[in-house]
Every structure is written in C-alpha cells, then in structure tokens.
Symmetry: C2
Subunit: 319 residues, 2 copies
C-alpha cells in the first residue's frame, strides 16, 4: 500500500505554493501561482485552481492543509483578519472543504512553518521551538510542549512585533508601534538602512548601485554584502545585532531548545546569523543562552507548504 498523501498549500501575500506530499514527506508534485488580483473571490478561485491542478497531476490526496497570512481561529477554521490578503471574516475551512469535496485544515502560515521545522526540519527532536521568518516583515511561529501555540484566539507568535528599541523607527504595515524587531531586522529594515548607508558612504558599492537607479532593497544589500562591500556588510551586521537582542529576550521568556530562522532575508546567511548569535550570547541569562541553538530553516521557502501538509497529515488521522 502506498503511503497516505495530502496537499499542502502555502498562500503568501504575493504568491501561492502547493504540493502533493506523502507521510514520508516526499513531494510528488508542486504548483505555483502569483496573485493577479486582490479580490476575495479571485484569491479563493486561485487556491482551488492550484489544488485541482495538483489532484489531476497526482491523485489520491485525502485532505488539504492551507497556510494563510491571517489571524486564524484554528478551531472553527475561520480567517479572522489579514493585512496581506482579502480574507477578513472568512469561514475558510468550511468554504474550501465544500468547494474541494475534501477535509480541509487551515492555520496561520508562520505557525505551520514552525510545525514543519519542529516535526521534521531544523528543530527535529526539540519540544520547545520558536521560528522567525525574515521577509518583508518578520513573522513568527511557536511550538511549545510539542504543539503549535496559538494564544487565546489565534493571534500569538507575533515576535516581529516585540519592542526591542523603544525609541526606534516606526513599524508600519498594520502595526502602530515603533522599534519593533520587524522595524530593525526585516528585509524592509535592511533595505531602508541600506539606502541610508548609500547616502552616507558615496564610495560604497551600495551608493554606486543606487546611483545606477537600482532600488536599495534587502536583497540588494545582501547581494553587495556577499560581494564584500563594507557599507552593505555593516548594515547586515547591525540588523543581526538587533535580531540577537530580540532573540535574547525570547530565549529568556521561553527557554527554548531552538530558534529557527527562515524567510528570504536569511539569504544573508552567517553574515546575519553570526552577529545575531553573538548578541544573543552576550545578553541572555546564562542558563537560557546555553540551552538554545539558532539554526536556519531546513525547508527554506517550502517550510510553509510542508507545514500545511504536516497539519493535514496529522489532522486526517495519521503520520
């Protein structure tokens, strides 16, 4: 008998990634989409389309798991609100289950990335795991006592919105705060500081690239840092320090075994994680510092999709 299989779908703010995954975590097919519109109907249609494409390519899935960038009430399967997709107050699970004719489970995308890394990835074997996804913003997921922790109504895990520099820059994107970790160490923050560094250091590669009309994004700063531009390296190192200061607090709060770092911004690799580890070691209480590892995500950009599949496998009575 071939292993049970499910479909996992990770619906991000700009794109959709789905896969047919079996209980040995083998991916049998993948499908991608970019969102073309921002209408709720179109977004839901696109999700159905991806699932149907995957069912046609590799039949036999017994359930579908969705990760969405929303505040999700897990028990009812409702998307309460989202700043990234038009999914406010949508009875997502029931609606999708009816359209697909399959059992559906849904959770916040960062929660599922944490689940995948804890069950089968960079934090396998650990019961207390924090995940930070560094992209445009900073998302977070928690696995505590071996289970996803969601808080009182599903809004837990927003570690990007922990205040690290009380007088720091405004956070934005639905957050009224300032000096949050996201405002200091996200891809956007790295881009913003990179643009400032380009202005301050006209001889840098960063300044040259900006002068050629390239937009100074987190990705550009990372690329030039890898090329050895000291201005760019400095920006990444500084973001790493902030990240490490945030992690020190998290280590003291949770006494976790692992903090997993995922998302696009970890293209910076050790340039970012090295300073983060140093700052964590400098600031955290000795017991918590010694008990925690900081590790890059194993599943990379597929951790959300894999987590959605893991949820579907576990929720449909197996794995």
């Amino acid at each position: 008998m071939s292993p049970r299989r499910v479909i996992g779908v990770d619906a991000g703010g700009t794109k959709l990634l789905g896969g047919v995954v079996d209980e040995e975590l083998t991916v049998h097919a993948r499908a991608h989409r970019l969102w073309r519109g921002r209408e709720r109907g179109e977004v839901l249609d696109r999700m159905v389309e991806v699932v149907e494409e995957l069912r046609a390519a590799e039949p036999g899935a017994v359930a579908v798991g969705f990760g969405i960038p929303s505040l999700v009430d897990y028990r009812s399967g409702t998307s309460l609100s989202s700043v990234h997709l038009p999914l406010n107050d949508v009875p997502f699970r029931d609606l999708m289950s009816e359209r697909l004719g399959l059992p559906v489970l849904v959770d916040n995308d960062a929660n599922l990335a944490a689940l995948a890394e804890q069950r089968y990835g960079a934090a396998k074997g650990c019961s207390e795991v924090l995940l930070l996804t560094l992209g445009t913003g900073i998302g977070g997921g928690l696995v505590l006592g071996g289970e996803v922790y969601r808080g009182s109504f599903g809004a837990a895990g927003e570690m990007g919105h922990m205040v690290v520099d009380v007088d720091g820059p405004p956070c934005g994107d639905g957050c009224p705060g300032n000096g949050c970790l996201e405002a200091l160490a996200s891809g956007s923050a790295i881009g913003r500081e990179g643009a400032e560094a380009a202005r301050q250091q006209p001889d840098s590669l960063l300044a040259r690239a900006a002068g050629e009309g390239r937009e100074v994004t987190g990705a550009l700063v990372t690329e030039l840092a890898h090329d050895g531009d000291s201005a760019a390296v400095e920006v990444i190192v500084r973001a790493g320090w902030f990240l490490g200061a945030g992690m020190a607090g998290l280590a003291n709060i949770f006494n976790p075994q692992a903090i997993v770092v995922g998302g696009g911004a970890i293209a910076a690799g050790e340039l970012l994680l090295g300073p983060a580890r140093e700052e964590l070691a400098r600031r955290a209480l000795p017991a918590n510092r010694n008990g925690v590892r900081v590790v890059p995500a194993h599943f990379g950009v597929e951790s959300g999709m894999m987590g959605a599949a893991v949820m579907a496998l576990e929720g449909s009575g197996g794995s």
Copy 2:
C-alpha cells in the same frame, strides 16, 4: 468532613512566608521568618522550622508546596541554581520530603504566583496568563493553556530580561544584558532614576528627601509621587511607559487574556499601571491589544504562598 489542607511556603530572597491553606483557599495560620544567615543548611533549617510551626498551630496538612527564587527542574524537584539563595544543585523536593515526612512539591516562586492568580485570583477564568512581579528585579510567570509553562528545563518566564531599549542601562544581578525590562521598570530602576531626578530638579520633594539623607529607593519615589511631587510622578510615569512597551511585545507574542502585575512596586498603583496600559494600547497590534487586560495581582504579597499551596493541593490529588 473538613476540607483538605496543605502548607504553602514562599521563600523569597530576604524572607519566608508560610501558611496553612485549605481547598477553599482559607488561610488558617501564617508564619514568617527573615533569613538570618546565607548558609544552605541554615536556609533549609529555617524552612523546616516554619513548616513545623504551622503544623503545630494547625495540624492536618497532607502536603507542602514550596516556591523558591530558583531555576527549578519541576519533574525531579531539583533547585538547579539561584542568584538569591544558596540553592544551587539541591535535590530540594526529596530532601524536604524526607525531613518533613510529607509529600513535597517545589517550583519557581513567580511560576506559582502566576498559578495562584490564574486559578483563583485576578485572572480567574483565563487560560492564557502572564504575571510580572515588580520588586527589586522583575520576575515572571506564565500560565499557557491553563498550565504553568516552564520551557525546556524550567528557565522560562524571565520576562524581566526581555530587551526593550537596546541601548539602555546595564541590567545586573546575574544578567549580562542591558536595556532589559528589569533595568527600566523595576523598583531598583525607579530608585536609580529617582536619584537622577533629585540631582536634576533641586526644588523637588525628591531632592529635599535626598538632601535629608534618605536613600532614594523605588519605595521613596512612590511615596513622594503619591504626595504629588512632579519629579517623582515623572519617574513613575516613565517606568510605566517602559513597562507598557514591554507588555505590548508580550501581548503580541502570547495573545494572552490577562497580564497580572504584582510585587512591591505596584504600590504605585495607577500612577504606574495607567501609563503602562496607555503605552500597551499605543503599540500593540489591534487584535492583541483588544484581547488583553492589565490587572493588579489579587493576592498581593501572598500570591507566591497561595500558589505554593495551590500546587500542593493539585499535586496531592484534590482541589
């Protein structure tokens, strides 16, 4: 049949408080001690003495719960380390159980204060509860999903050592960091800022008190703030802002229903909690801000003792 009773003991860094408590939470007797020495043997003797005094006054206790200011391995009942008492690597539960001839349970004091407030106090009926005790330092306890959360080896809940001001003052007292919540909003921090305010504002009551040779402590600043001294009020308000900034991060991380504030520093009452609530409301994500209440501890200075009793009642098969 009279209700089952236990003994709860809260062993702080400077004093010991014990009580005979029944399952209706009635306290039948209390006993206090100050530590006279700092030898391990003497500290343990003093604990035994208090328990025996209570047993003599009100017989019939079926178990004893201890809250200690230590990193505790709850499952083995071992005190792994403590910066406040000579209790490093002590098999506390087994040792005390043998000396007392009764079942013994032991946990970190702040964990137990959180347990008391969640079960019967200011956060009764809430499943997700954070407790901050503002004294000389800032301790923390977590109740998640209705149970005390301890992290991977018992060191969780140190919310006083969350970085809130990355360039802030050194933390001290066993913490290598700086700008931690404890360095900004504890009783000691209020005293430090009060001394500075006395220097800056020579016409203030604070400056006058300092000139009379009184030590500028958190308690003095609080007293003069209640008397209406604007310099003292300003110091308390600023500590409240920092506290609220820290709470905003905690609300975003945990999505709790309640943050309970206890410890000596809440003698400042609404002078401190008002600004904290304002800053929390200003900074937290809307969903998390609306879902959380900030409330003073119900059991006040007895929350650790009550929590130790609750643990003993639950751990000895009742309540």
